[in-house]
Symmetry: D5
Subunit: 118 residues, 10 copies
Amino acid sequence: MTPTRDMLEVFENQFPDRDYTIEITCPEFTSVCPKTGQPDFGTLVFTYIPDRTCVELKSLKLYLQKFRNEGIFYEHVTNRILDDLVAVLAPRKASLTAHFTPRGGISSRIISEYIRKM
Amino acid sequence: MTPTRDMLEVFENQFPDRDYTIEITCPEFTSVCPKTGQPDFGTLVFTYIPDRTCVELKSLKLYLQKFRNEGIFYEHVTNRILDDLVAVLAPRKASLTAHFTPRGGISSRIISEYIRKM
Amino acid sequence: MTPTRDMLEVFENQFPDRDYTIEITCPEFTSVCPKTGQPDFGTLVFTYIPDRTCVELKSLKLYLQKFRNEGIFYEHVTNRILDDLVAVLAPRKASLTAHFTPRGGISSRIISEYIRKM
Amino acid sequence: MTPTRDMLEVFENQFPDRDYTIEITCPEFTSVCPKTGQPDFGTLVFTYIPDRTCVELKSLKLYLQKFRNEGIFYEHVTNRILDDLVAVLAPRKASLTAHFTPRGGISSRIISEYIRKM
Amino acid sequence: MTPTRDMLEVFENQFPDRDYTIEITCPEFTSVCPKTGQPDFGTLVFTYIPDRTCVELKSLKLYLQKFRNEGIFYEHVTNRILDDLVAVLAPRKASLTAHFTPRGGISSRIISEYIRKM
Amino acid sequence: MTPTRDMLEVFENQFPDRDYTIEITCPEFTSVCPKTGQPDFGTLVFTYIPDRTCVELKSLKLYLQKFRNEGIFYEHVTNRILDDLVAVLAPRKASLTAHFTPRGGISSRIISEYIRKM
Amino acid sequence: MTPTRDMLEVFENQFPDRDYTIEITCPEFTSVCPKTGQPDFGTLVFTYIPDRTCVELKSLKLYLQKFRNEGIFYEHVTNRILDDLVAVLAPRKASLTAHFTPRGGISSRIISEYIRKM
Amino acid sequence: MTPTRDMLEVFENQFPDRDYTIEITCPEFTSVCPKTGQPDFGTLVFTYIPDRTCVELKSLKLYLQKFRNEGIFYEHVTNRILDDLVAVLAPRKASLTAHFTPRGGISSRIISEYIRKM
Amino acid sequence: MTPTRDMLEVFENQFPDRDYTIEITCPEFTSVCPKTGQPDFGTLVFTYIPDRTCVELKSLKLYLQKFRNEGIFYEHVTNRILDDLVAVLAPRKASLTAHFTPRGGISSRIISEYIRKM
Amino acid sequence: MTPTRDMLEVFENQFPDRDYTIEITCPEFTSVCPKTGQPDFGTLVFTYIPDRTCVELKSLKLYLQKFRNEGIFYEHVTNRILDDLVAVLAPRKASLTAHFTPRGGISSRIISEYIRKM
């Protein structure tokens, strides 16, 4: 079963008048390389300024776990998770940084950002 | 007994002509998750530019201890403490960062800021 | 497919006259908690004094990856992997340490050792 | 409600023929100083060689949480928790180290050990 | 004997045509809390762009040592030392950061800045 | 055989509408000093905002390995690798930082940047 | 007023049947060099196995503070504090380690131990 | 023999069209305090954007070694080395940071910068 | 050209009456995997008690550099270098530890020891 | 002027009945390589159990500074300083560890020990 954005639950932001930042760190992310079939491991840091809703942490955990056996490239997984979170939360601002462990002596970090157009 | 802002004592700022910054770090904050009833643990960093008053540290410690058995979400506790401190101190600028320890492999940081309107 | 010890390949130890130590660290181990169905994450350190054979690293990697969707407790997985490696390598001495990331604020380390009887 | 040892659940050790070590780290321990009424904070490390049973981690977490509003000195809490765990587990060997955060510029560590008499 | 700014000696800045920065770190600052009579400990970092004079380090050391038995609050001692140094040096820019060790689980940092008016 | 830019393979960027950053770290770079014939060792960090293509990591690894027996100065190797990557990727922005280990007690870091002209 | 051992208060050890260790760390020790009159700064670590009594931490803090203006050499202060603690506690075993900050580029550590004769 | 700028050798910058940065770290700098005759120890970090020439590292090492028995103050040595390097290299931009080890519990950092006038 | 032990030069130990230890660390070791043709990178630590001779460091560096393009397994290279050094130095005791960087998420350490038979 | 052991001053050990340890760390040692004429840099750690005398720290500092322009190999300087300190102090036990910074990518540590014969 592939992860879909409707797995992400939200709750109401009780401080919508203030711009404040929520940063969520998940050092236990794992997916599968679509080319080699080998597992990849990384740390995700999701940062956002909520508008009307905040993401519920348990649903986020379950959503991220669904990538466990999903074949997907570093660049795609980072942008796709950011897209899903932005679609569900409609935040004022958001970014996702994914840091993947070394393969063949080379490690990667993908940093993707979303800023709401006025 | 729930923590209230009248527990916070202040003393006179003796250098009101200068904008300077006071940063207070409390690595021993604990409250209770309202959903699961389990204790949460975090580190609070409160930073402000005082105007006429500074917060007295012992009263701040006692105020923060009152959250020990209080059921409250991460986002709310961070904004509520900032609101209480701003109400009592009327600072020129203030921010509160709360870093909570991992639950289910996920840790959170809430960063909230106040800037006085001119 | 469950991991079995016949996945582990060996090569001949070319220095059997000397007692020397091989230490292998795998920070990307993951399995599944049989109780909650949630993924567990850990770092394995396997140390041994080879007798006639050494473990081939790529086969060890593939063997460990097979635990990815296996429901198994911390204590069992540690002892089972040690048993498999000892059965295949017949080393003079061996130990396996598994360090699991925190759950509910508690982290665990299991340290298991094998010494060949004379 | 005061914590009692009957809160601690156990499960069967499936490798009783081997002496192996289980180390459990809890950085979120808190109790109350009986003299000042102020909260204390510490990190507990419990290490043991199981005989017939292992401690179930969730029950250990709930047992430790019960000290949250318990007035008890550093030395007593360390020895009492060790006594409770030894009574319930009857381990071959066990130790408990408790590291408490600084008060008045002084921090403390209590290290208590149990070795089964033959 | 209370510390006074005439204890601070200066020497001529030989590079007055260039804006450069001097940063001085003193991790061995100690004074006394005027409320409890207990000693406080901190690290001072003084940074400045010299104009015509630089502070002589030995005289600065002796001046800071004079706070050893002086009863004074965190906020005041930081601003007072900055005022003394600014009065003696007339620097183009200066700042003093004082980081005090934890009391009751809470540590403080005071950051004060001086910018010469044109 | 000297490394050439045609060794670098690319794949299509699937998120060309968004400016996002890819950072690649290679701590295992080695080349040869053209003056002394001695090996040099360094860590490369390549960061870029992709336009239509991303660099394929395995081809990058093989390209960098070709410098192993190449006699080339620090400054040249850094700028040459950046030039090759920019020529192949035509990124919106790119930088290469190379940190070389100490020789004669002195270590070096070269930081080179490319910004696409509009 | 010079520090004397009668300032040290004790309380009854409630676990006299067990050999356990108490380690107390004080990073805020300061005294005065008898030769130069300059303040010295150090960290003390006192470790002991209690017999019938444990040292009360607040009285220990006040006793150590009394060295603040006391002129005494590194070697003497370490052995003298150990002697005072041994005289008051009659522990089964005790040690005191004092680590002093650098003077003229040289730092010192004094490690003194007491073992009760049977 | 006192160090002079004619000891510094240069080589041609092969990438003059690009603004890039070269950072050179020397943790083994030593000179002599002109007041006390005692040796001083520090770490120098020299950063510059080259124009037509780069500094040859071996000649820089030999030049810096000449300060070994030179009596010179922190502030002067930092500005003098920067002046020498700027005179020889005519860089687009340059800075020198010198971090000296503690004396009497106080350490110093001097940060000096050069920007070419257009 | 393959590395041979006659490249290693020695000089006379001037303190043969005393057992003392020499530890040499080389974080810049590289060889080639004979299976994949890919470069391996590691840190070597050689420790020995000299008898009549010590190894000259420059000759050791040149000897180790000869492995740069040599296809050899981790276990073999470690034991072979130890054998070469023991043959040339005839030390009282010696050990070689080689720590190789991760491949496929797995890193290795080989620890080999030599003790002279009496 | 070459350093000689008569530069080392001692003072009376006031606790001769107890075996205690004094550890002295000097991170600012420098001498000259007799082969290349280049300066060497290292950290010395001297540890001893005093008998009737202790070494006076200022005289030790001045003695070590005399190696500044002395051409001497790593192994010799370590053993020579230990010999001088043992000759002057006649300690019950002593050791000297010297850690030298990397040259050509290789760093060294020499560990020499003295135990008094009964």
